[in-house]
Subunit: 198 residues, 2 copies
């Protein structure tokens, strides 16, 4: 057999990444060998740097490589609204939509009794603490429309309402550009239940 | 906007790899942040090590991280046959089939006038040199069934035949498990032309 130890190790590293199978991993490893030395070093440094520098923002728990994340430190952001999401990638998705100008709060998970994740295992306490000074007027719960996401939203809304802060939930329904015919039943039921007067 | 410089750099590195789009790249970069420190270091070292250690085998031009590749240094291999392929991944593919027990020779490309690649730009001279001591009795040309692959095979066969070495070409036809109905015309023509007596 044709064995190249250092290539196998690299292939293994790629295969362990999500969504990359063994053929793709082998192809990527071979590609690395064809890259200029400088680019490979850049890649290796990017891995180490990202891992070393990026941490959770002390305020909103979003990822940052600065002291405080760029959203929390942005003076132009509306500090009276906090959008609560499950993961840092949700922040990126909402931020791309460009319509939202408020702050974020990343829970880093959802309440999931099945997986043994309780309210204290995600950043809920930290969210409540941010509401104490009265500057925040509204909390938008943007957890996913799953059982766990809904449960988490409900749990948080019950904690927040007594504080006199407005709580809202993202609208769920038929996606823009979607097709009624191909929309699943649950989404359709949701869209009918939450219909708006015209 | 939510900017994380070191994450963007890492995402960029992933995006430059073949077959990885921007969504996938972002997902991989985020995944790296969740990996344990030791695993990220292992990945970075694997990149640098593979790039530093792997070179072409001085005999067959296949990739190796040893002095001579594991095929050339394997005493159990049949040293009277050389299989000529375009790339190191072709060696891996043929080696996986396990039926072939001879040696390899990697051209690292094909003759392609369109791309300005002539016979001297790939390892053809080095192949001819390996035939000089008379130990090799057969050369199997296993370049791909493309215009360039066929041209290269023809070119090499004309160089080798005068040396009294047997030259053969891989069989091309309908793949095992394939379906006549869905086989392209060229493959079918090839399969009919190269039919075997039963």
């Amino acid at each position: 057999m044709n064995k190249i130890v250092s290539l196998d190790i690299l292939t293994d590293c790629f295969r362990r990444l999500p969504g990359i199978g063994s053929k793709m991993a082998a192809r990527l490893a071979i590609h690395v060998l064809k890259m200029p030395d400088a680019k490979v070093e850049e890649f290796a440094n990017a891995l180490l740097n990202a891992k070393k520098k990026i941490h959770n923002c002390p305020i909103c728990k979003n990822l940052t490589d600065g002291q405080v994340c760029s959203v929390c430190s942005d003076v132009k952001r509306d500090k009276s609204v906090i959008c609560v999401v499950e993961t840092p990638t949700d922040v990126m998705a909402i931020d791309k939509a460009k319509d939202y100008k408020g702050l974020f709060h990343v829970l880093h998970g959802v309440i999931s009794p099945m997986e043994g994740i309780g309210p204290d295992d995600i950043y809920i306490k930290e969210l409540i603490a941010r509401l104490e000074d009265g500057e925040v007027k509204e909390v938008i719960l943007a957890t996913n429309p799953t059982v766990e996401g809904d449960t988490t939203a409900l749990y948080i809304s019950r904690l927040i309402k007594p504080l006199g802060v407005k709580v809202s939930r993202l609208a769920f329904g038929i996606p823009i550009g979607g097709d009624l015919e191909y929309t699943d039943e649950l989404t359709l039921s949701m869209a009918i239940e939450n219909r708006r007067d015209l």
